[in-house]
Every structure is written in structure tokens, then in C-alpha cells.
Symmetry: C2
Subunit: 700 residues, 2 copies
């Protein structure tokens, strides 16, 4: 894991000066300036190749109640340090990640109160991370954050790809607009009906916030290593283009309970004049702590299908076993209920999925609706909705466990909590033991609806602690976790590699209700995925849901683009989300899903423009095998695929899955062609992508 | 357990009438009338021997948001039933409890909304219980209670023994006043500094509320079987003497999340013209569900001493092992901290307590401060304060476990949670397993300070669920629970007999800070103890704390009254709270504590007047052995002890522990005499009690 090539540490300590402290990135392109203004407020600014990435921006906190920890500071010490080494992720986009930065730590003291904070800046070639550190001190021990007052003052009216600020949901559509337009467009952006919504009252957006300046600078603001602290939103001043931190409050309006001897998450600003460098950035992972587990041999990528999509398409399949909405876990004897006849997770049906998984090389079958309690699960009004150890009468745990072993596939456990973490934590150990007893090695957790404990939010400190608690507990049972509706990720998959994927954004399921925009997946890698892998659940071949009867939704993508997503949307957990019958109708296209790898030696961002297109090539972990995915938004385009990532002196046969000539995501999404082509490192392929289309290439 | 002598069930079902429905108690003394008024609001009233116990009082609910479930009802059905049987508590004041009542159930329907509720009245000879039942129905499934609108309208300006309404504390002093005076006295009553306080904004008091009418009627209002519902307070109208229910809100102001197919706790009104009948009442236990456990052989009474009182008396002994307030459970290596030298729970000291316990026949030694985390425990600002499985470096778990076994005593585990139930529940199973591994069979839990999850209250639905969850989980490990600072008990010790004692009131510890009034223990049995046993921790022989140095507090009781409390304050868990050295100074008086039983065949309330005096005799379970305790308030009195509870035709030697002739709780509390006397069932002893004094008698 820790393959440190060399660590260069040099510590310079000198007395405080009234001049700005300057820190340069290793390549010299980024320059950070830090100073204290006349009020004693910490300020910083960030330049990239003589362009302003962030203007002078204030830093600090207001503590409860109205204690100002953002002025009256003097600088007592500055300390520099550098590091340049590499490390190997357990699962990842590349086998080795370089961690190279110059660090500056400024120690600040408020004279009268004798309160101290330290601000740590780490400047990488691809951006800045900074965090606040709270040293152990006599006059500050426990405190409550009223608000963090970090500013991220933009130099202009940038183009932004944003989600409306909401403490409980990140499942909105992205809006693309100028910063100045955010206020006007906010109401529209919030016009979604989601299971839990707590829109921020002032104008605020979510991170990762992807922006592009009119000068062609790409700026991404997010955070890294979010633990024991609320998630950060960004207040937006539509006139001055000033952004500022807005933390998620708890049930009583507080924004973080802190004990000194600790620090905040890192605030990250990834910057480049090349959009590809944003996608290639490993800054957020680098700012996370190394893996916490000694043994990681049990953490493996998973390709899966699931009893899942059938619940969304209007075909009548249900999570619930009966239609009796008056069930109560414990008292209700489910074996005595009248089955509704539409229950998806029944033994026979799950076996069919297992057969299909085994026949097609999938690792696992996700089964939702296997457990007691789905009858009234949308009430969001009781602490205890589900059992996580008791299956419905028609789901034979033991038989399916044996069948899975026989077939060589795993079942992915599903723990929908309906956000009652109180009850989930009570059942957690028994639930994980149940999984171990039945040979389940991965769980999909769900946090639909408002949080219980009441008044808490998905993105608050208490829930942030909950998610990582679940990940740590799961690791004790060698269980991998894929959390849905949890707080957006911040690179903690480095520290807890068993927390190997999250949803935390608008996924494929929304294609069946609100719909996704055709540019959605060209934004996600620049936004949501900056924090970590996403269980986007691509692979929908039958995008016109009207074929099933009751729905009229149409996928915002061609069939080929669905293939390309397996490459462009990095995740070591990938689902083939469609019904097996649809894969059987397109066996040749399905081959790509069967073939595509999940874990990589290297990744090459070939082309990228947020909101427009992405083309990525990846080399399979420990194999001479490559996969390429290219996608476009609603506009057709010609992708230029440069195969220079291939080894010297060899040629390979590439299988190209391409949109048909008449393909179009709206009118003809299932039109595709498959051709073979010999390629080598000199090949530059001009590939036509349909509107809402893509290309997928395998070189095996 | 269920020794049912006979059950008489007769069910009369007839059509609704517009006349009042009338229910009489088995002895005919109590008459309940139920009706619907012109607005369709349910109303009830209660008469006792032609005297009005409760005037016409409305019933019902307001649901969220402003849905009225307290009017527009019509009566659709009335059903009567009676029961007369007995049952045996696992531990108790008597070996057999009669459960005799007449029941009336009224089914009510709101025409337009088609919502249904049922009100169930059970009339015993000693009072009324009623509860609301929510049948399963099509138009009401999950709902949120905005407020319960039950009224308890008093017929006059009664004398009341009350605690101010506070969602987070029941550790106030009792105030004795007329109902009309409550409003004026409220500010004074709230003038206490407690670890968690959330005083109710309007004028409200806690239950059990003990009252006495000018006609000499005793009325006690409380609740029974409080589960999955918030605890009830009583709003007080100082002018009309109307009381009404006021439920504890949750973090967002809601007052109960209900799914139909359920019911509220019972609202209880115990009534008699004899104060002794109030103390003898088993109505609240009768309204609780039978014991939920098959095997109760492991549930045993416990007499204990503890490393405890030394923390309160200003002698310098500390819970904390070090003075480093910057500790963090997990990261901090406690073995590397500098010990403060005052840590009470060190191996050597605990062994001294064990030696003393073994030498004097105690079952157990409570050890507080054994575990990591006490250094900053009063901050109330972090989720995770304590480890419940890791001891301080100077507390040798294994050695003490062996020593305890060798000495034949148990250690009582201490789990102070500082009200972070989030963290406690995470550690709960490991903590209980730790206890099993080390042969601990009882735990004292503590809920000092504000609740985490933030915004929740000690008396809210979430915490009510927490406490009973802990009791049920503990039972799985055969662990008995003594909860401190939890919601006031409501007889759940019948259902979960391992939850064998609670504090939930101002206990002896307050003698070391705020002080208790001399009449405190003459009120507690009429108030707090109506709900269940109290771990009051009596037995303080050295009541003048100035002897230890830094404090000036003086106990509100003579030494003999401390002995009497072991009889007057029922609990199967009793502490001898003072330092062993003080018992060694008064070995003859200490003999009573050594002798007194904890579990009883029968109990005889000989004399009682709330706020003034109590005299109780009890017969030891399965032994021809009796103990008598008599106490008075600040006034000396002559107790009349009628020994007619003794068997016919036999005489016994009684050992009488009495206040010395010059005894007085303020000036000479340690003056006492011990004499022996032959008694039989005809003996009527006139016994002088000093001011703040008592008498204790053993007949063995």
C-alpha cells in the first residue's frame, strides 16, 4: 500500500512577518498567497499561470455564540514542508498515485482570548488543499461552530455546473449557467420532487462545484476527507461572484461540535487550463488518510446485475411482498399475509438472475425487497421499518445462499434504512453477521427520506459520522459498502477502501421518473465523481419504457453511450442495470459489458469538456487490455481517439461499439454497429458520436 | 409468573346511546362517566364515594398539522369486560398482586374523515386507567401527534406536591402548594442548576402528581406502560384548576409518531380517601404488560456499596484518572497520561470496597470512574466521550474480576453515557459482552446532560424507546439495569423486570450539592415511586460533609431516618451509600442495613401522609422476618406502629433503631439508640421520631 519512493521534508521556521506568505506548486504554475489583513483576518488568494483562480478570500469561523474566530489574529509561526512520493490504492483508476505537494502551515493567535488556530495549505500541481487545524490549547477545548467563514472569491462571472444547495439531497439535475444567473435559476433548479428535501434558504450550491472561466481556466471546488464535520455548501453572491462556506446544520442549528486537537476537512480547489487535468486529478485522494485496514485482500471490484430495474419501469414488480400497509416488524407474521403476487425478490426469480449472472460472468446479483418491511416504507414516520435479518416468506435465504455458491456468484445485500439510522445502527451488527453467515460480501445501503434522528440532515455531522461508522463496522465483517443517498464522497474510499462506491447524485434510476439530461454524464465526472466512485448503474439497453406499459420515459442516451459509461464513470462497482431479457436481445453489444474491467493500471483522459464530452481510455489492472469510452451530450460530435497510450511496437485488434449512422438518443437510440480495427500507438481514430451518443472500445 | 386465580370475562356489546356511559369500580366506590358533548368531543368524569375526583374533562388529540382528532366523534360501540386475577412479580413489595377491574371500551368514529379511535377505561377499586387505542383503518395509518388533549379537571384548589415541568430533568425539589399557587411559585421551583434543563414555557408540572383535596381525597395522576410515546406533563390552569396533557416534543417539535394498530400509554388516576391506599396501589403495575422474559431466574435483588459517595463529598476523589482534559477515546493512550493521583476506581481501592462488601454480606460493589473518558465528560459537546470496554490503566479488569469471584461479590458496571445515546448504542453489545466476560450482572446507566441526538429530550419518544431498548438488550445478556437520569418510570419493571430500579428523581447525591428538603422522602413514595423502584442510595451516616474539608452540606435526615428509608423507599436494589469507614464507626446501626431485606412477601402501609410521614412494614420474601421503617419530615412526631401484620399466636423480638432523645436532623443527626422489645400482633408501639428523624425495626 505505502510504496513511498522518496519523502522530502524540509522545515523552515521563522518569525512572523507582516508580508504575504507565498507558496508555489512544485511545477511553479500555482501560487498561493496568504496574509492577515488589517483586521487580523486570514486571507488567501490563488494564481494559476498569472491568472487569478481565487481573489483575496477571507478565512475563519464564527463559533457559538457569536465568538469571532476570523479576526484579531497575529501570525506567530510559518512552517514549510514538501512531499513527493507515491502510493497504491486498493482499487483505482491507476495502480500508483503520485502525491507531490509543497505545504505551508501558518500558526495564528488571537491575542486577547489566546485562542490559536493553524491553517495548513498544500499546493499540488493540480490545485490547492487547505484545512484548519485546532491545536490543543488551554483556552479552547470544546466548541460549536456557528459557521465556517471560508471564502472562495471568484475572479469573474464563470460558467458553473451546479446543484442547488440542499441539506438532504444531491439528486437534482445539474444546471449550467453563469454565476450571476444562479439566483434567478435557483427556483427552477429546485423544482424536483425528491424523497427528502431541505433546500438552503439563501442562494447556495453544492460541491463539487465545477466552473470554467472565460479565460479557459477550469476550477473545481470541493472538500476532502470529510469526517466528524458537516458537509460544506457554497453561498453564492451573484453580483460579486464571491462564494463562501455554508455548513450543514444539525437538528438545533449548530454546525459542528469540535474538540481541539483536531482539524476540518480539506477545502480543495483543483485548477487547470486543461479540462482533462481536472478529471485526472488525484488531489482529493492524496489529501485523505491512507488505508486504515491491514488486510485488504477481501476488497474486490464487483460487476453485478440486480432485481432492481424491474421495480422502476412500471412493469408491476414490487419490493413489497404484500399489499398490507399495516405491517409492523416483529409483531406482524409475514408468513400469514396475503402475498401480492408481484414481489420481485422471490426465490425462483432471484435464481433466474443468478443463472444469468453465472452464465455471463457477473460477480454478483443485487436483490432489493428481500426483507420484511417494504409495505409501508414510504411513510418516513416510524423509527423501525425494516428487518435486516428476516427475509420475506418467499425469499429462501438458505436455499439462495447455497444456489449462489453453486453458481459461483454472490448476492449483494440491500439495506434500505429509509434514513432511520437509529434503527439501522441497532440492527447493524446482527445484519452484518447475517451477511457473513450467508456469504454475502457487499451491501448496498440506502438513505431515502428524512433522517431519524429527526431534524438531522443527510449532510450533517451526525450523519457524516454514521456513514463512516457503517464503513468501519462493515470492514470488521469484511463487507464492502455501496451507499446510496449518502453525503457526497470526499475521497474516503482511500481510507476505507471497502466503502467502494456511492450513489450520492442523480443516478440512472431517475431515467424512470424525472429523467436525466443528455449532458448529465458529461458533468458528473467533473462534479460528483471528483469525490469518489459512483454506482451510476448504467447499461440500460431498452431506454423506451413505454414498452413495459405504464410509463412514457425515454433514456437520455443511445445504447452505445450506455456502454461507454462503464469507462467514463469510474467505479470498481458496476451494474448492468437492465433486465436480462434486454441483454439477450443485444447479445453482441452486451459483450462489452461482460468484457469491461473494473480496476485499472492506468487511466488516460483523452478528451474532456464539462457538459459536452469526455473520452477516456483505461488499462486493465495487470492485463495487456484496454477499454475506451467516449460520450457526448445532446450534440453529435467527432471524437478523436489517440491510441498513444498503447505500448510501443505492437498492434492490437480493437472492437469498436459505435452509434449507428442513424442513431440519435431521442429517435433511434438502439442503433449501433460493432466493428473491429487494428490499432497501435500511432492510431488516431476520428469517431462519430450520435446526439446523446458515445463509443466504446475494447482491446483485448 | 402468571398465577391466574380466576379470570372473569363478560362482554356486553350494545348499540351506541346518547346517554352517558357509566362504569363502576368492583367495590362500587369509583364511578366513571363517559359521554360525547355537543361538539362530538369525548368527555369523562370520575367520582369517588360521591366526591368529585375529576370534573368533566375532554379527551383526544390534535394531529399534525392541525387535524382535530378531538371532536366530531360519534359513538359506534361500547364494550364491557371485567377481570379479577392475581399475578406474581419477579421482584416486588408483595409476592402476589391482585388485578381486579371493570373495563369499558368506547369505539368512536369521525364521520367525514372516517377516522376511528377507541378509548379503553379500566376502573379498579383504587383508581382509573384509560388509554387511547388506534385501530387499524383505511384512512389513518401513520400520523404525528401535535398534542394530546386529555384533560384532568380538578374539582378544587387542591394541595399539590409538584415538580416543575422540564423535558430533561426530574431532579428538582418538590414544591408543596395549592394548584392556584403553582404559577407564582414556578420560577422559584425552577431555580436549580442541573446538568440538562429544558423547562416548559407555559405553567406545567410533572407526573406522578400527588394531590390532596380539602375534603381529604388523595388523587395521584401519572401514566403506565410508557412505550413508543413521549412522556406526559400536565399543563396547569391556576384559575380553573384544569390540568391537561402536555407531551414531550422531539427535536423538530413533534410529539409522537404513531402507526395505527397501537395505543397510548395508560393515563392513571389513583384515588382514595386514605393516603395509605395510594402507596398500596398496584394499579400502575397492573396496567403494564406481563413479564416479557421466559427465564427470570437471573433477576435478583442487589444490596450494594460503591466507589461513589467519595466523589461527592469534597474529599478530592475523582472519576477521572488524569487531569488532561484533551483526551479522545481511541487516539489517546491513557497509559501514557500522567495520573492525577486522585482516581477513585483504582484496583487497590476497589479491592478495599470488595473486602468490606464481602465482610458485611453485600452482593455487589458499584464502581464509577473505571473506564476511559471522564477527563472532559462535563463538556456535553461530543458524541463519543467514554469507552465502555476499556478500563483506566489503574483498574485491572481481570484481577478485579477474579478477586470479586474469590470474595463472592459482584461488581456493578457503570455506563455513564452523558446522554449520547448514539454512541452508547454503538458500544452497547460490546459493552454487555464485556460485562458477561467479566461476570458483571448489573449495570448502572447514566444520562447526565443534554441528549445526543441533539434536540431530543430525556422524556421524548426517541429516548423512551432508547431506555426500553437498553433494557431488552441487557436481558439478552442476563444483565440487570439501574438507569439514572432516565424518564420517570411507569411500571415497566413488570414487563422488563431486569430494569429493576431507576433514579429519575432527586436522589441522595443532591445532599452533597443542592440539598434535599426534610420532607423529600415523605413525598417521593407518593410521587416518583408510584412508577417504580428508586435507587435513592440512602444510608448516609456522616451527614455533615464539612468533616471532609471543602463542603458545608448537611444531610436533611437523622441517621436513623437513613435506616428507615430502606423500608419506606421500595427498591430491590439498595445501596449503602456512605463510606465504609462511617459504617465502621456505627457498627450497631449498620447492622440494620446488613439485615434489611430487598424482596418481600407482603407490605403493610401502616401510616402515611404525603409531605409529612410514612410508616411501612414489610415481610421478607419466603422468611418469617419483618422490617419496619417510619420517617417524618422536619417535624418530630409519634409514630403508631401496629404490629397486627404479625402472625397469630407468636411473639417476636423486635430490634428497634430509634432517634436518640436529643436527636434532630439539624443539630444532632447521629444520636440514636437501639433497643430490643418483644412484640406480637396485638402490639401497638408509640414511637417518638425526631425532627427529620425516623425509626427502623427488624424482627428476625
Amino acid at each position: 500500500m505505502k510504496n513511498t519512493f522518496f519523502v522530502c521534508l524540509f522545515i523552515l521556521t521563522f518569525n512572523a512577518s507582516v508580508h504575504a506568505q507565498v507558496l508555489k506548486s512544485p511545477d511553479g504554475n500555482l501560487i498561493l498567497e496568504f496574509n492577515l489583513n488589517e483586521a487580523g483576518t486570514p486571507i488567501y488568494s490563488l494564481q494559476y499561470k498569472q491568472k487569478t483562480a481565487l481573489k483575496e478570500s477571507k478565512m475563519g469561523f464564527v463559533l457559538k455564540s457569536d465568538i469571532l474566530l476570523n479576526k484579531d489574529f497575529k501570525l506567530t509561526n510559518t512552517q514549510f514542508q514538501s512531499e513527493n512520493n507515491t502510493w497504491r490504492p486498493v482499487l483505482g483508476e491507476q495502480k500508483e498515485i503520485r502525491n507531490q505537494y509543497n505545504e505551508m502551515k501558518v500558526d495564528l493567535l488571537q491575542d486577547k482570548s489566546e485562542r490559536k488556530i493553524t491553517i495548513c495549505f498544500r499546493l499540488f500541481d493540480d490545485g490547492l488543499g487547505f484545512r484548519y487545524e485546532f491545536p490543543v490549547q488551554e483556552n479552547l477545548r470544546h466548541f460549536i461552530v456557528q459557521e465556517e467563514t471560508s471564502e472562495f472569491n471568484l475572479a469573474g462571472d464563470h460558467k458553473a455546473f451546479w446543484l442547488p444547495g440542499d441539506y438532504d439531497s444531491n439528486e437534482y439535475k445539474y444546471t449550467t449557467s453563469r454565476i450571476s444567473e444562479i439566483q434567478t435559476l435557483m427556483l427552477d433548479a429546485l423544482n424536483e420532487s425528491l424523497a427528502a428535501q431541505s433546500p438552503i434558504k439563501n442562494v447556495a450550491v453544492q460541491t463539487p462545484l465545477m466552473m470554467k472561466t472565460s479565460e479557459g481556466l477550469y476550477i473545481n471546488i470541493h472538500e476532502a476527507a470529510l469526517t466528524n464535520y458537516p458537509a460544506m455548501f457554497l453561498n453564492v453572491d451573484s453580483k460579486t461572484f464571491a462564494l463562501s462556506s455554508h455548513l450543514t446544520p444539525d437538528a438545533v442549528g449548530n454546525k459542528g461540535y469540535i474538540q481541539t486537537g483536531s482539524h476540518t476537512p480539506w477545502r480543495t480547489i483543483v485548477v487547470s487550463d486543461d479540462a482533462r487535468a481536472i478529471l485526472a486529478s488525484k488531489l482529493i485522494l492524496n489529501l485523505n488518510d491512507p488505508c486504515q485496514f491491514e488486510d485488504t485482500s477481501w476488497i474486490k471490484p464487483v460487476k453485478y446485475i440486480g432485481v432492481w430495474w424491474e421495480y422502476f419501469i412500471g412493469r408491476g414488480s414490487t419490493w413489497a411482498y404484500s399489499d398490507d400497509q399495516d405491517v409492523v416488524i416483529g409483531p406482524t407474521d409475514f408468513s400469514k399475509l396475503k402475498p401480492n403476487g408481484t414481489h420481485g425478490a422471490n426465490t425462483k426469480h432471484v435464481k433466474e438472475y443468478m443463472d444469468f449472472a453465472a452464465a455471463n460472468g457477473f460477480d454478483a446479483v443485487l436483490v432489493e425487497g428481500w426483507n420484511e418491511g417494504w409495505e409501508d416504507n414510504t411513510a418516513f414516520k416510524k423509527e423501525r421499518i425494516y428487518s435486516f435479518t428476516k427475509s420475506y416468506p418467499d425469499f429462501d435465504v438458505k436455499e439462495l445462499s447455497m444456489y449462489a455458491a453453486h453458481k459461483g456468484v454472490k448476492i449483494i445485500m440491500h439495506h434500505e434504512t429509509t434514513s432511520s439510522t437509529v434503527e439501522y445502527e441497532r440492527q447493524l451488527k446482527d445484519a452484518f453477521q447475517f451477511m457473513v453467515d450467508n456469504h454475502y460480501t457487499a451491501v448496498k445501503t440506502g438513505y431515502v427520506g428524512p433522517i431519524i434522528p429527526r431534524g438531522e440532515h443527510h449532510d450533517g455531522q451526525a450523519m457524516v459520522n454514521h456513514y463512516s461508522y457503517v464503513a468501519r463496522e462493515a470492514a470488521k465483517y469484511k463487507i464492502m459498502v455501496d451507499s446510496h443517498e449518502a453525503v457526497r464522497p470526499t475521497g474516503l474510499n482511500r481510507t476505507y477502501p471497502n466503502w467502494f462506491a456511492q450513489e450520492s447524485a442523480r443516478g440512472t434510476e431517475f431515467e424512470s421518473f424525472g429523467g436525466n439530461n443528455p449532458d448529465h454524464t458529461t458533468i458528473l465526472p467533473f462534479a460528483r465523481l471528483m469525490g469518489g466512485p459512483m454506482d451510476y448503474t448504467p447499461g440500460i439497453f431498452q431506454g423506451d419504457l413505454s414498452v413495459y406499459g405504464s410509463k412514457k420515459n425515454k433514456l437520455s442516451s443511445t445504447l452505445v453511450k450506455q456502454l461507454a459509461l462503464y469507462v467514463t464513470m469510474y467505479s470498481p462497482l458496476q451494474m448492468a442495470a437492465d433486465l436480462p431479457e434486454n441483454y439477450m436481445r443485444f447479445v453482441d453489444a452486451f459483450q462489452f459489458i461482460k468484457d469491461v474491467a473494473l480496476d485499472w493500471d492506468d487511466t488516460y483522459i483523452l478528451e474532456a469538456e464539462p457538459g459536452d464530452y469526455i473520452t477516456i481510455a483505461r488499462k486493465t489492472k495487470e492485463k495487456q487490455e484496454w477499454f475506451v469510452g467516449g460520450i457526448t451530450d445532446e450534440n453529435p460530435r467527432i471524437a478523436t481517439i489517440d491510441f498513444s497510450f498503447l505500448p510501443k511496437g505492437k498492434s492490437y485488434v480493437a472492437t469498436i461499439y459505435e452509434d449507428g449512422k442513424d442513431a440519435d438518443y431521442q429517435t433511434n437510440p438502439q442503433s449501433y454497429a460493432i466493428r473491429k480495427m487494428v490499432v497501435n500507438r500511432k492510431t488516431k481514430l476520428k469517431q462519430q458520436l450520435a446526439a446523446g451518443g458515445g463509443v466504446a472500445i475494447s482491446i483485448q
